[in-house]
């Protein structure tokens, strides 16, 4: 059985993690976006530290350390470097959703994941592990929301990273995967970021050239 203080602490951390997610959805300045992401990752590391204190499993401790090294330090540093190199400092374009409606959709997503998990797992609502799973999946869905509603590749990458945080949180509370797999996921993540960073340089807009496409069509039918 877990210490009541730890349970309370983890619940508070959940609230902060969701808070950072909401801010990431709305934030327009890229520098703040990256800081928000590193704060969120730090909170994740604290969650795994608290769990380590309770269970004594060293997998959790090493996971916390790895999270701090890669996601709090290295990845935000890389993202900031891309920002400076490309000279893009703001991403104020939103697609399909405005910031406010994105937040509303996000709240709806949290409710959907809560109710669907409640039905499938049939655990008590007070169960911390149930709550962790719901927050994890919600975070993943919110990350997807960022990928859908933002235009710039760099912001999309932050959305993807947020999804990955959500999946990791989910994994922390539902099952303890062998450590090697977590490690692989992180390595994979770094490769992905490297790629996205390299590619996003030199790309200003990400929309397709619609008119050119239409021209091709008309040419075919005009003959």
């Amino acid at each position: 059985m877990m210490n009541p203080t730890s349970i309370l602490l983890i619940k508070v951390l959940f609230v902060f993690i969701l808070g950072t997610a909401a801010l990431i959805i709305m934030q327009k300045s890229l520098a703040s976006l990256f800081s928000l992401y590193s704060v969120q990752s730090l909170l994740m590391a604290v969650v795994s530290l608290v769990l380590f204190k309770e269970t004594g499993s060293y997998v959790l401790l090493s996971l916390a350390i790895l999270t701090v090294i890669t996601k709090v330090v290295i990845i935000p540093y890389m993202l900031n470097k891309v920002r400076k190199d490309s000279g893009i400092h703001r991403d104020s374009e939103f697609r399909y959703l405005t910031p406010v409606s994105a937040i509303l959709v996000g709240i709806a997503l949290i409710f959907v994941s809560y109710s669907s998990f409640y039905r499938v797992f049939q655990l008590s609502q007070d169960n911390l592990f149930f709550l962790g799973a719901v927050i994890g999946v919600s975070l993943a869905l919110l990350g997807m929301l960022v990928i859908i509603s933002r235009k710039k590749i760099v912001t999309k990458a932050v959305g993807y990273l947020m999804m990955e945080n959500g999946v990791l949180l989910f994994g922390l509370f539902i099952a303890e995967l062998p450590f090697i797999i977590e490690l692989f996921i992180i390595v994979d993540l770094v490769i992905f970021i490297l790629l996205a960073a390299v590619l996003s340089m030199g790309i200003d807009s990400t929309e397709e050239d619609l008119t050119r496409k239409l021209n091709n069509l008309t040419k075919w039918f005009k003959q």
Binding site: Y160, G171, I174, I185, F192, L195, A196
Partner: protein, 494 residues
Amino acid sequence: MIFLAYIISGLLLLGIVAAIMKWRFKGEQTAVSRSNLLNFFTLGHAGIYLILTLLALIRLPLPVLAFNNYLFMDPLAIYEVLIAETIFLLAAVYGHGYIKNLLDRRVIKVESLELFYGSFNLLMVMVVFSFFSNNLALFWILLELTTILSAVLIVTLSARENVIAALKYVFIASTAMLFSVIGLIILFATTKQTSGSGTLNWTELMVMANSLPPSLFIFAFVFCFIGFASKSGIVPFHTWLPQAYAKAPSMVTAVFSAVLINSGIYGIIRLYAVAHHNGAWHTVSIILIVFGVLSIAIAAFSMLPRTNLKKLIGFSSIEHMGLILIGTGLGAPVALFWTLYHILSHSLIKALLFLSAGILKNQFESNYLQDMPAALKLQPLATWGVILGTLAVVGMPPFPMFFSKLFILVQLGAFSLPLLIIVLIFLLIVAGALAYLLIRAFTQPPADIVKPYRADWSMKLPIIVLFVGIIGIVVYLSTGLSGILNTITASLGF
């Protein structure tokens, strides 16, 4: 042992080629000689893999487990690897002339040759080991790496559209694959609940299949399905596919469409085999059939206004993935037998189509059908490749897909007659769209006097081999292939 042989032989060959490079050119190497040497390495690499897999098929008592049960070989894995290796080998032969042409036209830079061939070879290793991985998590990781390597292969042709296509692919596939991780975690927790120690190994999942709680298994399956379906271009996760196929160099597109697309389906078939022994299998079947029909429908209507040859063939891949999904979801041994046969014939035919389309692209410098006047006269082999490939892809009688389509559809009719009629209408639209576009494209009057592009022998050879292979598997079906397919079906517990 055998798995080590794969890696070691690859590294050895790499060492030999690097040594030759250093010894023969001593710093002053031309682009063509470099391309030839790298191509030789790729060719040898694929050849060695093919020979090793054939040896494993003949000599080893299957299934083989190795590396703490992380890797294994069973009939289905070997079948998929054999298909993959054949296509990689033929694509490498094709690359001999194709890459030289790209260099001449300055579409690919000399500096990115190493990157291109390196990713191509790594992609092959990743694909082969994803089929050989017994562990679902390892399978996931390797699948993710194939996404990244494919994106690199698309980007090597440094055009802006290529970068966009690659990014789209990476984002859609990686996002969907993250949902698979959630599925994997649920599956792991479920097995831990049932047996005490959690597992993600195919072999162990098959053993404990009937004791897993169905509702949790369905939940896990749905999440896993999202990721695997995106790798196979199943609607609604298909949006990356047409653009990526159109922008990638043809030898890479052939590999994408004939090999990579199978990897997602492979995961789905394995998961379905577990579901088959579980109370969840009815629901899972319905899910597969619904997404299968949806894929065929969307692909059929998307093909109508298409004029880009490579996109057109890409949408046809989506349609066939839908059909394969239906064949899997029907759950009968006969349906699975023909689905596996369909996978083989689909791979060969798609490789034929894309390799032929590559020659046409080199001739006309365009993928658009309206830009291909007098194609039959200028490039008879490639044009006939496209025409015969299209006939094969819609399922005309002498070609292998006729049989697989027929028997899958017969099984679908036994499942639900109205659904069969709906699917038939969609297939008719597909056939109509293909016929209409090809007839219009290849009956255009010659515009100006165009110099015929002399395709290298190495580009023509794979097309001929593939065509012979497509006819060959019809003959082989009655002589030996049906035995292999029956073994696979039995090994999956059907």
